[in-house]
């Protein structure tokens, strides 16, 4: 059953963005766009989150924070990089302390372009992320099956 697609919980992190994209992310939660229609909830807890929405080009101070947040999220999970800075570093890319894009630190699944990204684009990016999330879930259950079978085979081998 694919419950995951119907109940994606989001973790939003500002990795040295100018706050433009963050305002647009939060705009998605307002009555105008109301993403809770799709079961989307903005949670502040990486352990409850399925999708990491991340804005900004990541500076040297929050580099370990981003990695930590990513590692705390339970599988399956996807990362959506929002805005030009999250994709490439944007106008800040020449700065001495900017990593230059989220994918320099953690793997990114969906890039949402724009400066700032529009709420419609962000929702579209999240919907794209949902199908990737579903793929990852299928792969995860498939792997669990293979592991289980391998374990059974090993046990059977020991028995004889």
């Amino acid at each position: 059953m694919a419950f995951l697609k119907r109940s994606p919980w989001i973790l939003h992190y500002d990795a040295s963005s100018c706050n433009g994209c963050d305002i647009e992310v939060l705009a998605c939660l307002t009555p105008l766009y109301d993403v809770e229609r799709f079961g989307i909830i903005n949670t502040g807890n990486p352990k409850h989150a399925d999708i990491l929405l991340i804005t900004g080009g990541i500076n040297s101070q929050n580099r370990p924070v981003v990695r930590n947040l990513y590692e705390q999220m339970p599988e399956p999970k996807v990362v959506v990089a929002i805005g030009a800075c999250a994709a490439t570093g944007g106008i800040f890319r020449e700065c001495y302390n900017i990593a230059g894009g989220v994918d320099k630190v953690i793997p990114v699944d969906v890039y949402v372009p724009g400066c700032a990204a529009r709420p419609e684009q962000i929702i579209d990016g999240v919907v794209k992320a949902l199908s990737i999330l579903e793929e990852k879930r299928e792969k995860m259950t498939g792997e669990a099956h293979t592991k289980e079978e391998a374990r059974h085979a090993a046990e059977a081998g020991e028995g004889t």
Binding site: M1, F3, L4, R6, S7, P31, D34, E36, R37, F38, G39, I41, N42, T43, G44, N45, K47, H48, D50, Q72, P74, E75, P76, R137, M140
Partner: protein
């Protein structure tokens, strides 16, 4: 025999009814905020998803405590719908929350610990009033057994209006609704991270959710006891009470834990005790 049927029906139907009520709750909340809101079955999708996710465990004991929480909540509800002793039900109910607090304390996370402390404060805040409610129902019906209270022909609400209002106050605490949703909240996802449930993920969080559904049905059953002389009025009163709770949830801001504790005890001392004092004076005077 009837009791056994009641208990089994509760164990099977309460998660379904509880999930639906949670769905209606979210829909009404969304409408009050001028939004469309999630589908009616959204709580079931959420819990289904949680069981699909990886379960990140820091200390294995935490999962055991959460399972104990679920079992004891289900047990207290099952005794209730079996028509059992109200005091035993309240003790099992309290024990369940002690397990939840222990589960949150089992992990070395400051957010989880703050949530656990606040949950203990909530238990302290609602416990006096819930016991006074049981005492009040005993004074009116002469029995602590739910089966006898439900079968009584006396309109308990007319004798216990204060106790009922006090119970409504602590119901807000128990349903985890504003202004008393201090340990963890349905709405505030970023204050003290997620409070008591911060360190629970995947299927463990799913169990917390299911326990909450069981709990809500049990509490609504308790509300029904005040009106049980007339089933139609009883069901209507339960619905009105719940919608009023949703309304209060949406129009109030969260208070600090001191205020939550004071409100719980003030409700018990003023609404509960005064009502019981008048009632005992009346019955002694009458006899």
């Amino acid at each position: 025999m009837n009791g056994l049927i009641g208990a089994v029906l509760f164990l099977i139907l309460a998660p379904i009814a509880g999930g639906l009520i949670a769905g209606i709750d979210r829909k009404i909340t969304a409408r009050m905020q001028g939004r469309v809101g999630p589908p009616l079955l959204q709580p079931f999708y959420d819990v289904g998803k949680l069981f699909e996710k990886e379960n990140v465990v820091v200390t294995t004991a935490q999962n055991f405590y959460v399972l104990a929480y679920l079992v004891f909540i289900a047990l207290s509800g099952a005794i209730f719908f079996a028509g059992g002793d109200l005091l035993l039900i309240i003790f099992a109910f309290t024990l369940a929350h002690v397990f939840l607090v222990l589960g949150a304390y089992a992990v070395h996370s400051p957010y989880s610990h703050i949530g656990a402390e606040r949950e203990l404060i909530q238990v302290m805040a609602y416990e006096p009033m819930i016991i006074l409610a049981a005492v009040g129902l005993y004074m009116v019906t002469n029995s602590f057994y739910v089966a006898d209270i439900a079968a009584a022909t006396v309109p308990a609400i007319l004798y216990l209006p204060g106790v009922f209002l006090g119970f409504a106050v602590i119901l807000t605490i128990k349903l985890r609704k504003s202004p008393f949703d201090i340990s963890t909240s349905h709405h505030a996802h970023q204050e003290i991270v997620k409070g008591i449930t911060t360190e629970f993920s995947g299927s463990t969080l799913g169990q917390v959710e299911i326990a909450h559904w069981y709990e809500n049905i049990f509490l609504l059953g308790f509300v029904y006891l005040f009106f049980s002389w007339n089933p139609v009025i009883g069901v209507a009163a339960v619905a009105v009470t719940y919608v009023a709770e949703i309304f209060v949830d949406n129009v109030t801001a969260r208070v600090r834990w001191q205020a939550a504790l004071k409100s719980g005890w003030l409700a018990a001392a003023v609404l509960g005790l005064v009502n019981l004092a008048i009632l005992s004076y009346m019955t002694i005077g009458g006899a």
